[in-house]
């Protein structure tokens, strides 16, 4: 028979306690993640966006092995050729593996492709651009760069932002104040200018960076972009940590004897994680657009490499009143738009799924 508190004179009655426990076991509670996953699965648009993104990423990863024409081989005699649908020209010969410097893994895939398909390549299904390069191939290869840039930069901003914000929120007081003031100042500087400065400056020292430190222009690019986007993440994380710090469940954990480390990792981090994930999925599209923006200004990815930003730029430059090279604008825009749309929808879906305030409501 279960007793109540010692020396209290109250007898809880073992039977009742067991009954209560048995009854409680009947109601299956849901953890935050289970609830979120269920909601996400139920959200059709978000789910399909997720699937789409997975598919696209797979396509990008395996691009070297696909039988696409080279994204780089020039043919300066021709002007842009309109798209030729697959049922007219499914494929042709004449493939030559011309790329920029590939990683060894990619090189392996290319070799495998040559082994599989010899010199067969797909036809100009989406047309060619002003320098004779196949658009479909450029879009697929461009996706690799764009996705890589977006991920790297987003992760960079995440690393900086989460650390900064968590430290500020956790330490609180004057340090927090100071740290946030710095963020405020940086926020009001139109960072675009700093970025442009930074990149032009970095251009100047490119040779040293590459030879001496092994840092190529792209790495700098990622770091610069990441360094620009961390501000919002820091603010958000700090706000979250601040509000969590004072919540009762933290006190309860402490009262139950949890160590600081345990509190931070078991209780605080998962709660912060959800908001970080949401912001990450919303930062990635912003970074992709930013890359496009910089490429437009000539400060981004350089030829012969391809990115969606460069494609969009090429497209808008080819717009002239005499000949309508619509495919150069429409297809890259469709690819970029679809991906960013999917990211945004997924981000929205994640936010709806993870926001505790919406739990249980619809």
């Amino acid at each position: 028979m279960a007793k109540g508190l010692p020396n209290s004179g109250f007898d809880l009655g073992g039977r009742e306690l067991e009954e209560l426990a048995a009854e409680a076991a009947r109601f299956k509670g849901e953890s935050l993640w289970q609830d979120a996953w269920r909601r996400l699965r139920g959200n059709r648009t978000a789910w399909w966006s997720f699937v789409f993104l997975l598919g696209f990423t797979a396509l990008a990863l395996f691009a070297p092995i696909l039988p696409l024409p080279s994204p780089v081989s020039l043919d300066l005699q021709l002007e842009p050729q309109p798209p030729v649908p697959p049922w007219e020209t499914f494929g042709r010969s004449g493939f030559a593996p011309e790329y920029w410097e590939l990683s060894s893994l990619d090189q392996l895939l290319v070799d495998a492709r040559v082994g599989l398909f010899a010199d067969w390549q797909t036809g100009p299904w989406l047309g060619t651009d002003g320098k004779g390069r196949d658009l479909l191939s450029r879009i697929v290869w461009g996706s690799r760069t764009s996705i890589l840039v977006a991920l790297a930069a987003a992760l960079c901003s995440l690393a900086i932002g989460v650390t900064y914000g968590a430290v500020a929120g956790f330490l609180g007081g004057r340090i927090d104040n100071l740290m946030m003031r710095i963020v405020d100042i940086l926020y009001s500087i139109p960072f675009i200018f700093l970025v442009i400065f930074l990149i032009t400056i970095v251009n100047e020292y490119r040779a040293e960076l590459e030879d001496g430190w092994g840092i190529d222009r792209e790495t700098v690019f990622y770091v610069v972009i990441g360094a620009v986007y961390w501000l919002t993440m820091a603010r958000v994380v700090r706000g979250q940590v601040l509000s969590l710090r004072n919540q009762e469940f933290v006190e309860a954990a402490r009262v139950l004897g949890a160590s600081t480390a345990r509190i931070v990792f078991v209780h605080l981090v998962p709660n912060v994680l959800s908001i970080v994930i949401v912001y990450l999925t919303l930062t990635i599209p912003a970074v992709m657009l930013f890359e496009a923006f910089l490429s437009f200004l000539g400060l981004g990815i350089e030829p012969p490499k391809v990115s969606w930003g460069l494609l969009a730029v090429d497209g808008s430059e080819m717009v002239n009143p005499v000949k309508l090279y619509w495919w150069l604008v429409v297809f890259p825009a469709a690819a970029m738009g679809a991906t960013l749309l999917a990211l945004n929808l997924l981000g929205d879906g994640l936010r709806d799924a993870l926001d505790p305030k919406l739990r249980g409501k619809d």
Binding site: D184, I185, S188, I189, P190, I192, F193, L194, I196, F197, T200, I201, E204, Y205, P285, L289, A292, F293, F296, L297, G298, G309, A312, V313, G315, S316, V319, P321, L324, W326, V329, P332, A333, M336, G337, T339, L340, L341, L343, N344, L345, D348
Partner: protein, 328 residues
């Protein structure tokens, strides 16, 4: 109230100081000067230029000259050995110095010429953003779940997903080639700004639509809306008087970042549509190492963004009686 303004000014001064100092030393300490790209100049001319732009001075002196207010050069106040013809110079007296690239003009001239155009463009973009965004957002919220709502939301998300120069490209294809209605490039009248304004404002319209929709939906689910209905107010009145105010609050606080974004986006749009605004000058100045022009534009934009943000914060406190005028 006064404390609020003073506090803001103080932070602004600090921000500006940081920006100016960092940019100044960053630009000057990097290898490569403003005249590198030009034809090789003969010695005399080069010395002349060095003297005129004070490039032969030590850095700290150039900095002080740039900030002002006292002119440390030959035409400065007599107290310092000059001839007294031009005692004041520098940012603190709103003199941004001569342009390095366009040597017949001062930065003030260039900015003065191009700024009104950029401001007009920005204003039109903001108007597009507000009109489109608010109506789409409110319609979406009121007819939640309907076909119209879904379409509008999709349009909004697409607007955010495309870079503004792609939207510009589509617009040009549409309104210039397919349906030749509007002028496409250059600047002659306000008509030239309609299309660029739309391209510039489109992503912000999309974001405002989403914010409005979410804000309105949240307001509509509040208890006080139920009270309003229980009081027997006609639905139109419930929306207009009770719901809209609360629903618009997030949009008001978004106006700050939105204007900053419009300024940024103008760099691209001005290039595409060949509009002689300040934005195009900025990018060129960074590439040309035209220090003074680059600094001038940077400072200008910092001032604009900061001022607008302060105004927005102020407006927000006017709208929401629960918020007090503090530096939050």
């Amino acid at each position: 109230m006064l404390r609020f303004v003073l506090r803001r000014l103080l932070w602004f001064a600090i921000t500006l100081f940081v920006v100016v100092t960092i940019s100044f030393f960053l630009m000057r300490s990097v290898r490569g000067g403003p005249f590198d790209g030009e034809r090789a100049l003969n010695e005399a001319v080069e010395r002349n230029i060095q003297a005129r732009y004070h490039l032969d001075w030590p850095l700290w002196k150039q900095y002080l000259q740039y900030v002002g207010p006292v002119n440390l050069g030959d035409t400065g106040p007599e107290m310092l050995g000059g001839d007294g013809s031009d005692p004041f110079t520098g940012i603190l007296v709103f003199d941004f110095g001569p342009s390095f690239k366009y040597r017949d003009f001062t930065v003030n001239d260039i900015i003065g010429q191009s700024l009104p155009i950029s401001v007009s463009l920005g204003t039109i973009a903001l108007l597009w953003a507000l009109v489109l965004g608010l109506s789409a957002g409110i319609a979406s919220a009121l007819w939640r779940g309907s076909g119209a709502d879904v379409t509008l939301r999709l349009a909004a998300t697409t607007g955010i997903a495309l870079p503004n120069f792609t939207v510009a490209g589509f617009l040009v294809i549409f309104f210039v080639f397919l349906i030749p209605v509007l002028p496409v490039a250059g600047y002659g009248s306000w008509k030239h700004l309609i299309l660029p304004g739309f391209a510039l404002g489109a992503p912000f319209a999309a974001y405002i639509a989403r914010l409005t929709r979410t804000g309105m939906l949240e307001v509509l689910s509040q208890d006080y809306i139920r009270t309003a209905h229980a009081k027997g107010l006609p639905p139109r009145l419930v929306i207009l008087r009770h719901a809209i105010k609360g629903g618009l609050l997030p949009v008001v606080s978004y106006l700050g970042p939105a204007t900053a974004g419009i300024l940024t986006g103008s760099l691209v749009i001005e290039r595409i549509f060949a509009i002689p605004g300040t934005g195009s000058h900025f990018v060129n100045s960074a590439l040309n190492r035209d220090y003074t022009l680059a600094m001038g534009v940077t400072i200008l934009y910092t001032v604009l963004v900061y001022g607008l943000n302060t105004l927005v914060d102020f407006a927000y406190t006017l709208l929401d009686p629960r918020i007090e005028l503090e530096d939050s």
